[in-house]
């Protein structure tokens, strides 16, 4: 009864708190009350993309993909009560020798504001973590590594989530329920997998909590995720037809922390760490990884128009044992270890992101690089973009994985290495 009373009070509060001029002005471009009584806002982009890459097992180049894509974003505001948002992407073109047409409802959700509580339900993308580029606390929505895309956000995809945020400044609490499992996409040249994903069942749903604090000069959070990992492992089963490779996720607990700070205004500090603990026994299940801790500490500094972020990344694998060649599933286990960065008990990497903005921020040059000192693997992601005029941009870049034989980067280089050119118009 008490809970109902509190809920009613919150709802009444939200109803009587009027929408301000500032909130109205955010929709000023489209919101003339007479012309657009529904407060419908439509925007998005149209782009053309071409990718070239490496021929598998050869030092030759080939065309990988070329496509055109339209993004349609719809937003409807229902005064100060809430609204809805969706993004639909449709693309068509060629990938290798095949033509394709694809329609993807990337996000579609409704939201309601109830006093200090924001409530969202539907297909949505959630991103957690304060480190740059590598976020071990980010486990809510899938992130697909195996696509030729020009922007990091393209790798994200939405899943159905019930998401509530309680704003009690300086504290913000995020409580998330993930009823249905959605996995990151795997497209590795030469491998066929059967997907053995969790059933649509209440006990297979996941949930996550995050307590986020924001103060002047410092902000940080502690988080917890309980659910199936969006990156499945590879399991092997034997039947009359032979050895079958299956994609199977393991249920995990992930305990996370992150922070960012600007102690003197001149240098930024950031850090993130997560401890991942699988439910199932990793000694008995091939697809289950060992418990591990991943941590990132870094600093960023600006030198005029040049921004530099340097991060140190470490991983510690618990109960680590060498994979024995006598192991009947040696190959599969090796692949899983590569994928979950568990080839060594400890691994150390450094990431550097440099970004230079020139010509009054119309020309942007950026490079993200990561070098793993333990496995001697190198990742390079350069990008140059130029705004021809407002909302009309040409960009070029690439992604290069370099690794010694038998390393992960060596295995995936022909699937993922590529250079691109893109022309994008936003509206």
């Amino acid at each position: 009864m008490k809970a109902y009373t509190i809920l009613i009070v919150i709802l009444i509060y939200s109803v009587i708190s009027a929408q301000t001029f500032f909130e109205d002005s955010l929709n000023v471009e489209t919101n003339s009350e007479k012309e657009n009584p529904e407060n419908l806002e439509v925007n998005g982009y149209i782009r053309g993309v071409f990718f070239a890459g490496k021929v598998p097992n050869k030092k030759e180049a080939e065309m990988k993909t070329g496509y055109g894509e339209i993004s349609l974003k719809f937003k409807v505001e229902k005064e100060h009560f809430g609204g809805a948002f969706s993004e639909l992407r449709s693309s068509g073109g060629y990938k290798s020798d095949n033509s394709f047409t694809n329609i993807d409802l990337r996000e579609a959700y409704s939201y309601v504001y109830a006093g200090p509580v924001d409530f969202k339900i539907g297909k949505q993308i959630v991103v957690w973590g304060r480190a740059d580029g590598i976020n071990p606390t980010n486990n809510i929505t899938p992130y697909s590594l195996f696509d030729f895309t020009t922007e990091d956000d393209d790798r994200r995809s939405g899943n159905f989530i019930v998401n509530s945020t309680i704003n009690l400044e300086p504290l913000k609490i995020d409580a998330i329920w993930i009823p249905f499992y959605t996995a990151s996409e795997y497209n590795i040249d030469g491998f066929e997998f059967e997907k053995k994903y969790p059933d649509f069942n209440l006990k297979n749903s996941g949930f996550a909590l995050k307590f986020d604090l924001t103060f002047p000069s410092f902000d940080g959070s502690v988080s917890y995720f309980n659910g199936y990992g969006t990156t499945p492992g590879i399991d092997a089963t034997q039947d009359s037809s032979g050895l079958n490779l299956n994609l199977k996720p393991s249920r995990v607990h992930v305990f996370g922390i992150d922070f960012s700070a600007t102690p003197d205004g001149a240098i930024g500090l950031r850090g993130e760490a997560a401890f991942s603990l699988p439910y199932e026994n990793y000694k008995e299940n091939l697809y289950v990884y060992n418990p591990f801790i991943k941590y990132i500490v870094g600093a960023d500094k600006e030198f005029g128009d040049f921004n530099l972020i340097v991060q140190y990344i470490g991983t510690y694998v618990f109960d680590y044992e060498e994979n024995s060649i006598k192991n009947p599933c040696y190959e599969v286990e090796n692949f899983n270890r590569l994928f979950f960065y568990q080839t060594d008990k400890t691994t150390y990497s450094i990431s550097i992101r440099g970004e230079l903005k020139l010509l009054y921020e119309t020309l942007k040059m950026e490079v993200f690089t990561m070098y793993n000192f333990t496995t001697t693997e190198l990742l390079l992601i350069p990008k140059v973009s130029y705004d021809i005029t407002d909302a009309f941009t040409v960009s070029a870049g690439g992604r290069v994985f370099i690794g010694k034989e038998e390393s992960l980067y060596n295995k995936i280089d022909s699937s993922l290495n590529g250079i691109f050119v893109q022309l994008k118009t936003s509206y």
Partner: protein, 263 residues
């Protein structure tokens, strides 16, 4: 009788000169700053950037501000309404009187808020001729002030004040070695400002086009329209407040990273 008049005139001239000498330029600058600080405000602005060839780029920005700590801190949220490629980008600033600002940037492509470094105030704001230093209140104590005379600017008598950063680090941070600023004798609001770069060469000129006395405030003003001209490359940036609403009761919820991330 003649002698008496002469003495009287000399006495008046001396007392006038003495009054001019006792005018403290630092107080004028501080007063000018305080007079444009509003307890709370919501507005929509248009920033037009014109390059040397006459090409225009137009940005629309929604802004909400509120004063805290008896006016010593201004919290400001800016959200970009257009063009489409920067829409929903947001900048939250806690502008302190005596220390570096706190700033958070929300970029829709990253889907998260990033705390950003605030010491590089000389960087241009969204590709315009305005710098981040121009968009916030400077720490009065970081500069030295010298009253160098009076001048008429567009029919308005102004004090001409030379403003210099006290150290080379402060000059580097703010991007100028000297600034000559013109403050109206009548209302103390800035009318014009001439910037010299770190080499001492003429760099930019700021012109105040429109000033509005804010109804309901305690005698506060808002610069509604200002233009910055880069004298070295001919670029012009025009910042105009299209709509403004004085509101002392702005809710605190706007000045949170949670609100910054709202679409």
């Amino acid at each position: 009788m003649k002698k008496f008049f002469l003495i009287a005139i000399l006495f008046m001239a001396a007392s006038f000169l003495e009054a001019e000498e006792t005018i403290n330029p630092e107080i004028i600058v501080k007063d000018a700053q305080d007079l444009t600080k509003l307890k709370g405000m919501e507005g929509i602005s248009t920033l037009t950037i014109i390059d040397g060839k006459g090409n225009q780029r137009i940005r629309k920005i929604a802004t909400v501000t509120k004063l805290y700590d008896e006016g010593k801190t201004e919290k400001k949220l800016m959200k970009f309404i257009s063009p489409a490629d920067v829409k929903d980008t947001g900048l939250l600033t806690f502008d302190y009187e005596k220390k570096d600002d706190d700033r958070w940037l929300y970029m829709p492509a990253l889907r998260k808020t990033r705390r950003i470094i605030s010491s590089e105030k000389s960087k241009n704001f969204m590709g315009s001729e305005f710098s981040y230093a121009d968009m916030s209140y400077p720490d009065i104590n970081e500069f030295s002030y010298k009253l160098i005379g009076k001048e008429i600017i567009k029919g308005e008598q102004c004090w001409v004040i030379e403003i210099k950063p006290k150290t080379s680090d402060i000059a580097d941070e703010n991007g100028f070695s000297k600034k000559t600023a013109y403050y109206s004798v009548k209302d103390k609001i800035i009318r014009k400002s001439i910037y010299y770069d770190l080499d001492g060469s003429l760099h930019k000129e700021l012109e105040t086009k429109e000033i509005q006395k804010i109804e309901g405030s305690s005698g506060q003003y808002k610069i509604m329209h200002m233009v910055m001209i880069n004298k070295q490359n001919g670029r012009v940036s025009d910042m105009k407040i299209d709509k403004i609403k004085y509101n002392e009761k702005i809710e605190d919820k706007y000045f949170t990273t949670g609100y910054l991330e709202k679409k």
